[in-house]
Amino acid sequence: MKAYDLAELAVRNLRESVLRNSLTTVGISVGVASLVAMLSLGIGLQQLATKRLVKSGLFDTVVVTSRRDLRNFNREEDRGGPTPAESPALDEPSRQKIEQLPNVTETYPDLRFITSFNFEDKPHLTMVAGIPASYRTNDAFEGMQGSFFSSDTAPEVVLQKSFAAELLGKTAKPGSNEFPVADLSKPLLGKEMTMRYAERVDLPPTSGALADSKQVAPPAGNDSSEASNYSIVSHELKVKIVGVTDLDPDSMRGPVRARVLLPLKLLESLHVVQPTALRDTTQASSKVPTYATVSVRVKDPARIQSVEDAIKKMGFNTFSILDATRSLGAFFKVLDMFLGIFGSLALAVASIGIVNTLVMAILERRREIGIMKAIGASDGDVKKLFFAEAGVMGAFGGALGVALGWALGRVINAGTNFYLRSQDVAPQQIWFVPWWLVGGAIVFAILVSLVSGLYPAARAARLDPVQALRYE
């Protein structure tokens, strides 16, 4: 029989006992719905967990440190490299060289130091970090109150909300809810505070070997090549508070959370003394800036490994979050699998329903099968017809089930968000139905139905027409 005729006959036969077949189809759809709801929940949770990480740039960032720092993140593999003394310095030329590597979109030094701010005549000590302009599009600043820096050199700061709370003299009790960012930002936005910092001023080689650290620097414009001598000059800078954020975008990168963020270019221009500067005095390097760490952003997380390898070849240590998230991925794979198995249980029950319906149909349509055989239907025709009926029920059940699962997911999502809101937590999308799941669920439903149809179809095909026609 032709496929079209087969489908037409199958649909016609299903319509003949519409109630029973509809119930069976609903059974399949409930199975598919539970599968879709479970998997979409798993996928949604996974996306929720990784979205911020991906968008914050952690997945496409390689952190580069100098071997001279003796800070080996990947100790095992780096043991064979050059000894710290022989390895290159992580300075401006190195940074530019890294930037020339293929697939690298951006490199910037990681500038952070501890200093104090005066706000309304009270000093507050905290960690400061420089933020490159590319962070403007970073989703870690989602939900920030106020605005991003007006320019890359503007004397403006974005506060982390715990520091904002400290400035306002509010302290959250442990365990209690934190203050909403909006409440904290209102009295602070637009206000000024004063940052104290220590500037490194290089001395000409002719001047005294060890100058008093409080000595005022000679006028600028001195382009001496020897930089091992420098003095530290205390400065103050008035900065304007333009934003308050509830997240530190770098929280996974540095050992200490920076609570005040400044434009990176501005911070670089201040020549603040870095911890590495001390070592420079003993190693007599040039006056070019040297960095403790450089962050390298890669075009695509898939290229991380090749970029890391290239940087390692240059003699630096590297670290990326990718290794750390591999186990996260494995966790979600297992979670998806378990959710899938639970979802499939309902579908397995539904498939028993298909077998039952079709076996019943054989008993009921014994005579019809006999007639079809008497007028020339082959075993194969009868088998295919029952297969087609199972397949059509699977297709309808699958489509209905996807719709049902989608609705179910929405309800679960809405319910969860209602609960989250009652707990003062921002609503989240914990449910996501990708297109492959829609198509996959329908195909899976059809496959399960066809497998369920195997036995009834074979039984119908074997039916003896003489016996079948004898019944009146």
């Binding site: 029989m1 032709k2 036969n13 007028i375 020339g376 239907a377 082959s378």
Partner: protein
């Protein structure tokens, strides 16, 4: 090929030939010999009636010729093919193309309209939709049901149902028409109409007809040959002169 016991018959084309055909069913401890060593030959174009009481084996023999059943032993050769040696697939093809069947209880599919019932064999023959429709229409017009195409079998009278089933048997232009008590469920007037149609197929299309009946009068009225069975065995086989000339039935417009 099996040698014919009667050399005279070898000259004519045999539509059906059985050679010591047996069909035995085990029934509990005993063995039912429904067909027990019957050898008959039916030349192409002959109208044969199989007569006997119920349980004489006439329907069982018909099922063997139809390819609905397989003989326990012996040979059943229809249009040159020994059905005992055909695969299940080839037997289905035999039922589809070589023989057409009508039954006492019509055996129409209740869920399908008249025209759908008639074109069903064409679906199995993979004839495309348009051609199917026109062939089914023509067959129904031939049996005088051109105006009842979209009705369900339950909306038809018994005679109309049997006409539908005749149209269905006719649709694939089979060489042999097998009729199992075709008038058994009909009143005598309607039965006559159906018999006239069958006789017309025999005469105008040259179809070989094998009709099972227990009504001797009906058989003598239409058949050219009467074969009597009892207890699965052939008891008599004699020519007959039908005493009714072919009269087109009221509904037939062929």
């Amino acid at each position: 090929m099996i040698d014919s016991p009667d050399p005279k018959l070898q000259n004519t084309v045999q539509a059906i030939r059985t050679q010591s055909v047996c069909r035995h069913y085990p029934m509990g401890e005993s063995l039912i010999r429904a067909v027990d060593g019957i050898s008959i030959q039916v030349p192409a174009g002959e109208f044969v009636a199989l007569l006997g009481t119920s349980g004489s084996g006439k329907s069982s023999l018909l099922n063997l010729v139809a390819g609905l059943d397989r003989p326990t032993s012996g040979a059943v050769v229809v249009e040159g093919k020994d059905l005992a040696r055909l695969s299940r697939e080839d037997l289905a093809r035999h039922r589809l193309h070589t023989v057409g069947m009508v039954f006492q209880s019509f055996n129409l599919i209740a869920g399908m309209t008249v025209i759908e019932n008639v074109e069903l064999p064409l679906r199995f023959a993979e004839v495309d939709r348009r051609r199917r429709e026109s062939l089914a229409r023509a067959a129904l017009e031939r049996v005088g049901l051109g105006h009842r195409l979209r009705h369900r079998p339950s909306e038809l009278s018994g005679g109309e149902q049997q006409r539908t089933s005749l149209a269905r048997a006719l649709i694939n232009r089979p060489k042999v028409l097998l009729a199992d008590e075709p008038t058994g469920n009909l009143d005598s007037h309607t039965g006559t109409e159906i018999m006239n149609l069958i006789q017309e197929f025999n005469q105008s299309l040259g179809m070989t007809i094998v009709m099972v009946t227990h009504e001797r009068a009906l058989a003598e009225q239409y058949a050219e040959r009467l074969i009597f069975l009892a207890d699965g065995k052939l008891v008599d086989d004699k020519p007959n002169t039908p005493n009714v000339a072919a009269v087109p039935s009221e509904g037939a417009r062929a």
